[in-house]
Symmetry: C2
Subunit: 449 residues, 2 copies
């Protein structure tokens, strides 16, 4: 009929087997987040554009999916002489889970003072689709609002690390930096703070375009050659230095900078906390880490894995964002897991094991059995908790059994006229081939044992 | 700062306590759907407009949330002389879960022949918001594709009934009708089949506007007074008649209509199946039931409850919809639960019981305890599976304990310098007041028992 049956570009249908894997990862994340005392919230997929705009940088604003006005509002917009994007809608799809959290915290004054929330929901970005990059994808965030204590940083890093360890990841490291340290480094390189944002954007691309790429990009963005060289020298970590040695190197390089001192002291303290947590031995101080988003104000994090180029997730402290909604400042720190990449790697490494979505029992029946009797048998087995699928038609029994095997059923229960009389089925284990006659009510005790 | 912190009109933030209730309902539905052999799929929130348009009637088309084109495509659209809605986008938000299922079945030729899928995801409609009516709301659908067997009808009705019974609903009834029967009734009333759709729309409003309202609406929609009276007479069920008697009444009223005979025979057979299922005693033949959507072709259903005016969900057979995508016809039948109304009624009737979202243990500590030691204690307790929240700052212990009570923690674990030395906490049960000193590693055995 010419109608496309594919999902839109960059979006996906999840069929039962793939969804079972995604749900396994989600439930693992939920359980661990809850063990760390996080509680769930959900927010609408659609937000006011005024909530979203100006939080993600210009690039982010351009990636927003906007909702078109309807009826009168649209008609009025289309009547005007010059129409711009702004006139055509005031709603957009959620771009991340952090800005909605900030709005929720500002909107609900009766939340706990230290609000530890997790949120697992899709977000939408009109990015160019590619391998592991989608236009609708799941984010899994933990955030703690209401405290400047570094315990909060340690907690979000710990929760995320335990998720990765539980899922079977071994080779990962949480890279740690600090926005105030970065600022001091930029200043120390002689770069004007007017160029701070553009410098961060360039440095943020390090793992994508390499050090030579960053150098080139910095110059293209108007940073002078000499300052560029100085910056690169400052942020590059010497090989074979440990975390404290690296922090000492940065401290002496930035001697005299009050903000650098404060940031380095925070990082030192954070290292001590991480050393007592599941993150111990799995983090590294990395002055080249920039993180793209504009709203970070303190420590920043990113998970890198030798199993996968690029980031598996990241986060940081953003003490100003909630204040943009609330007026008064509420400090916050968060971490977001790159769910889609996680699933991709688990799949590639064969770490999912066997996750089946078939029924316990496929109920097959001969054509001389009344369908009402079939329903009765199924109802009885289900009372015992058995997952029963009824084969809805009556081709030859062999065909029904082949079908049962093809959908991954564990047993077939065959119903003939004799069985109906004794309220029983001929139950066959499809793995072992073992077969026996069992009363409807006793099927559960065999199948679910 | 003047920025609104509310979610957009008709949309909602779900905070932890409310979300816990919603998750309880969702997991109940999932478990029961799976017991009936249904497997889950998920589809993208965004669909091509060509997929959505023309499936829900004109009213439905107008309620679609459309996505605005971006960049070049938008610029080109805005350049043209006369701009219409069509030029501004080709994507829209999912309006229901049935059309996406039809697209998925048409797109995936390797699905099981009898595909029993459930899907629990939000849908979006730009409807006027009201009590229990939202612009983003959850749907919980079961559908069986690939068979015309009435076993499929019985199965979807059974699964939905068991959900309601399990959640504690007692007073509900599944109203059952048949689109071909309705068609025969409309013909028998002397109404031209050109007016079938408009007649169904009017009759569908019966539970909202009452019989007098329907009569008025039918006349307003151009049905002649006499035909209207005849139709009403035909569809109204006499009091105190049982299901088979009602079907016999309709059969004699429509004597000679081949399509009516077929439809009534199907309904008789369906009654026999339902009598052996959890729906037994909980359904009623109702010739006034119309269901708004255009795509139904056979039996149709709707759940009514004396606990709540209006519908708790509905469904029916739609043998033509998948063919609109695939070319060749694939029969299908489905049922959708009105999740939001369910939650509303469960709340109003106090059927949720106590669902808590607090941590097992709030870990409090004196200011002379190093934070690294606090992290160490929490890490140790969590290894045992305990949900631990760390109080992140150090006001007086009494204040920390009050806070623990306010967020619903079950225990507080207090850490002082002495406790750190012996790797233990002073553990207090907040319900009983009982207090004891316990090694970190032993907290799990007490808290989780």
């Amino acid at each position: 009929m010419g109608m496309s049956t594919k999902p839109p570009s960059g979006m996906r249908d999840f069929l039962p087997n793939e969804l079972a894997k995604r749900r396994y990862v989600i439930s693992t994340i939920q359980k661990i987040y809850e063990k760390y005392g996080f509680v769930p919230i959900e927010t609408p997929s659609i937000e006011n554009l005024s909530t979203l705009m100006g939080k993600y940088g210009d690039e982010g604003d351009q990636l927003l999916f906007r909702i078109l006005h309807r009826r009168d509002k649209l008609a009025r917009a289309l009547e005007s002489e010059t129409i711009t994007e702004k006139d055509l809608g005031d709603l957009g799809l959620r771009y991340d889970l952090t800005v909605p959290l900030a709005r929720v915290v500002a909107n609900n004054t009766d939340l706990p003072k230290f609000f530890k929330r997790y949120q697992i929901q899709p977000v939408w970005r009109a990015d160019r689709p590619g391998k592991g990059r989608f236009r609708e994808f799941l984010q899994c965030d933990v955030d703690i609002t209401g405290t400047k204590s570094l315990v909060a940083e340690a907690e979000v890093c710990s929760a995320v690390s335990e998720v990765l360890l539980t899922l079977g990841f071994k080779n990962f490291s949480i890279h740690v930096n600090h926005r105030q340290l970065l600022k001091a480094l930029i200043k120390a390189a002689g770069i004007s703070l007017d160029n701070e944002a553009t410098t961060l954007v360039a440095v943020d691309k390090l793992d994508k375009i390499g050090m030579d790429g960053v150098k080139k990009e910095l110059v293209e963005r108007g940073i002078e050659e000499e300052q560029m060289r100085k910056l690169i020298e400052l942020i590059q970590r010497p090989e074979n230095s440990d975390e404290l040695t690296e922090l000492e190197r940065l401290k002496s390089a930035l001697a005299g900078s009050e903000e650098a001192n404060l940031a380095i002291d925070e990082l030192k303290k954070l290292c001590k906390l991480l050393d007592e947590s599941p993150v111990a031995g799995r983090y590294s101080i990395d002055a080249t880490l920039a993180r793209g988003l504009g709203y970070y104000t303190g420590p920043i994090f990113e998970i890198r894995s030798s199993d996968f180029g690029g980031s598996l997730g990241g986060g940081g402290r953003y003490d100003g964002l909630i204040g943009m909604f609330k007026g008064s400042e509420i400090p916050a720190v968060g971490f977001s897991i790159g769910f889609e990449r996680l699933v991709l790697i688990l799949e590639e490494k064969g770490l999912f094991g066997s996750i089946s979505s078939g029924p316990d029992v496929m109920l097959c029946h001969f054509s001389d059995v009344e369908e009402a009797s079939v329903i009765k048998a199924a109802t009885s087995m289900r009372i015992g908790g058995v997952k029963v699928e009824i084969f809805p038609e009556t081709p030859k029994i062999g065909k029904q059994i082949s079908y049962a095997e093809s959908v991954g059923a564990k047993y077939v229960a065959i119903l003939g006229a004799n069985e109906v009389e004794t309220q029983s089925v001929s139950l066959k284990n499809l793995e072992t081939g073992e077969q026996q006659t069992v009363k409807y009510a006793d099927v559960a005790s065999i199948v679910l044992k």
